[in-house]
Symmetry: C2
Subunit: 132 residues, 2 copies
DNA sequence: CCTATAGTTCCCAAGTATTGAACTACGGAA
DNA sequence: TTCCGTAGTTCAATACTTGGGAACTATAGG
């Protein structure tokens, strides 16, 4: 039996637009603490980050498959755009799209995130990633 | 075997406060379209609404058990406060608490909800859009 | 008491998440 | 070219979560 997903890996990544970006989808994507931390980290690097690098920066070790799933959900919700560069998948937050579709939404979620997490904790997470 | 939940129904309802109200909890609660619609409906009735009445107003028929679960999740996230009045459980949005803890968050989520659903659609809210 | 109404709890089927293993894809070195 | 290392995807198995029917508690009004 041949592998069922032959040639599927280079298929175009789905990036919803317009009405394809739904509030429920965005909130669902953001409701997971890991995904919220990923988005926060991506916002700090407008040039984009790959999966491995983001994982390292948020100071969480998680299997590649889990990370890949989280990125897929973020991408399919419209929160991030991903682009293949060689073996990497570089992602960044779709700030303009989000501002057009739901102005202020992402900003207030991130503001709430900052308010909930004391700065000391965030610095420690950065140091862990720098060390490892 | 006696019913395991004897006398449990009148136990005090849990209403988190302060750090017990988390961003992840709120986003999780709001990420469900039914719960978001419930919150929107409760906001329109500051005096509070019971479960049956809210369900009727959002134009969705759902089993009591499902409704009860949604209300429990909303309550335990900190979004709503519920009070027993006779046989009813009257709930309302904890606007003040939410403003103190995460100012602007609920407002921008509701604004996004209004932006997504045109008023005409909201009047006949029984069908969920199949657009993708 | 009885009956109606409001909501809760339990349970199970159906759905979703997590993650190790197997895999594709690409870049660089030999 | 072929092989290797790295990056990420897909699949499958298992663990967890959710929706809703049935059975239940609680209260109000006869």
């Amino acid at each position: 039996m041949p592998p069922r997903y032959h040639r599927l890996m280079t298929r175009p990544l789905s990036h919803p637009d317009g009405a394809g970006v739904t509030l429920a989808g965005l909130l669902f994507a953001l409701a997971d603490p890991v995904r919220l931390a990923i988005v926060r980290e991506l916002l700090k690097s407008p040039a984009g980050l790959n999966c491995t690098e983001t994982t390292a920066r948020i100071g969480l070790s998680m299997p590649k498959s889990t990370c890949s799933q989280h990125y897929r959900i973020l991408r399919e919700s419209g929160l991030i755009a991903s682009e293949r560069r060689g073996t990497e998948l570089v992602s960044r937050v779709r700030a303009q799209l989000l501002t057009e579709r739901f102005p202020g939404l992402l900003e207030s979620v991130i503001a709430a995130y900052e308010r909930e997490r004391p700065a000391a904790l965030r610095r420690r997470a950065s140091r862990v990633s720098a060390a490892g």
